[in-house]
Symmetry: C2
Subunit: 213 residues, 2 copies
């Protein structure tokens, strides 16, 4: 009987295989969530990744773990976009840049917005990053108002209004959705300017969580 | 054996019953379509109306007939809103009034937008009214531009952009959806003004039919 041990993968290549499987699953999950939202069945993600459901569950014991891992990088990117906006010496320009970038991220990947707004009990890392993002967003709004760029009657719920509207226009292919989102963001940013602001009806009673509905 | 004929409904009360049934079905259809869109199963409409499916089909032989009849009144109202806008001596004010009202109609009844944008072969009356509405809308845009109220770079696709955005913010109860829609319409109408217009990215390649997706 031949010695099988020489054919067994070494510890290192096992780890490399595991890493590759993990990356493949996360890539498939991101694609599936972007196209169909985060409620896609786990089995569909496994099929797309070309792995068995058991393998997927071995790497990601819960759906929440899969979703939060899939979006961890994008959430970190979102926080860094906010940090750049806050670092802009012109608070209004910083605000506009963030809104434009967040709208684009949302337009091309609807799963991310959904993930951002969903509570994942037990995924403390994700919740921590999200809180950081929300705090920075509030700061960005305040700075732009204080500097006189953003109209005084801009309400925190208007961020939600903008994101819901942006979600509405993000139809068709990625490029079409991005074009519609850019045009809408430009119109709304113009309307948010303090210069020449005209009276508005009262703000809607919207919170960020309304987007996840 | 007693004479039963005296208990039979007269021709007049039969017609009244039929009319009442018809009205009850149309009311149920409008409610169902407003809440869940026009793809609601016909059986669900019959259940809501408290009639059998056979009765429903006797009054409305096809789903298209049911949908177009249910929205006929609203479409006529829409055309009259456009006529009032066109009759306004101030073309910009006329444009704003129409946009505000159309957004509100859409926010509280998503079925109507869907019906408006769906082709119903064989429902010539509905198609005729819709064409009238689209022509008036194009005229309203042109008048508001010519009068210098609406920005020159406003593109016909921006009407679609507005309706898609409005559809996106119409979440929650009717009152909440209406409040969000009013706020969004006010922001966008401000951004559509020719005064102080700032440059925009190119228009999106959107047509009204994109809303029905």
């Amino acid at each position: 009987m031949p010695d099988q041990t020489s054919h067994k993968p070494s510890g290192e290549s096992l780890r490399a295989d595991a890493r590759e499987n993990r990356e493949r699953i996360l890539r498939a999950a991101r694609e599936a969530f972007a196209a169909q939202g985060i409620d896609v069945p786990v089995a569909a993600v496994a099929r797309r990744a070309g792995v068995g459901v058991a393998t997927l569950y071995r790497r990601f014991p819960t759906r929440d773990a899969l979703v939060t891992e899939a979006f961890a990088e994008e959430l970190t990117h979102c926080v860094s976009v906010l940090d750049e906006g806050l670092a802009d010496p012109d608070p209004w320009r910083g605000f506009c840049t963030v809104i434009e970038q967040v709208c684009l991220m949302q337009a091309v990947d609807r799963g991310f917005t959904q993930a951002f707004l969903t509570e994942f009990p037990g995924q403390a890392g994700f919740a921590f990053e999200r809180t950081r993002a929300e705090e920075r967003l509030a700061l960005l709004v305040q700075r732009a108002k204080d500097a006189g760029g953003l109209r005084r009657d801009f309400d925190p719920s208007d961020i939600t209004l903008l994101l819901l509207a942006n979600c509405g226009v993000a139809v068709g292919s990625g490029e079409e959705a991005a074009a519609a989102s850019r045009r809408l963001a430009a119109y709304l940013l113009h309307a948010f300017r303090a210069d020449g602001a005209t009276p508005l009806p009262p703000p809607a009673s919207l919170g960020l969580r309304d987007i996840a509905q």
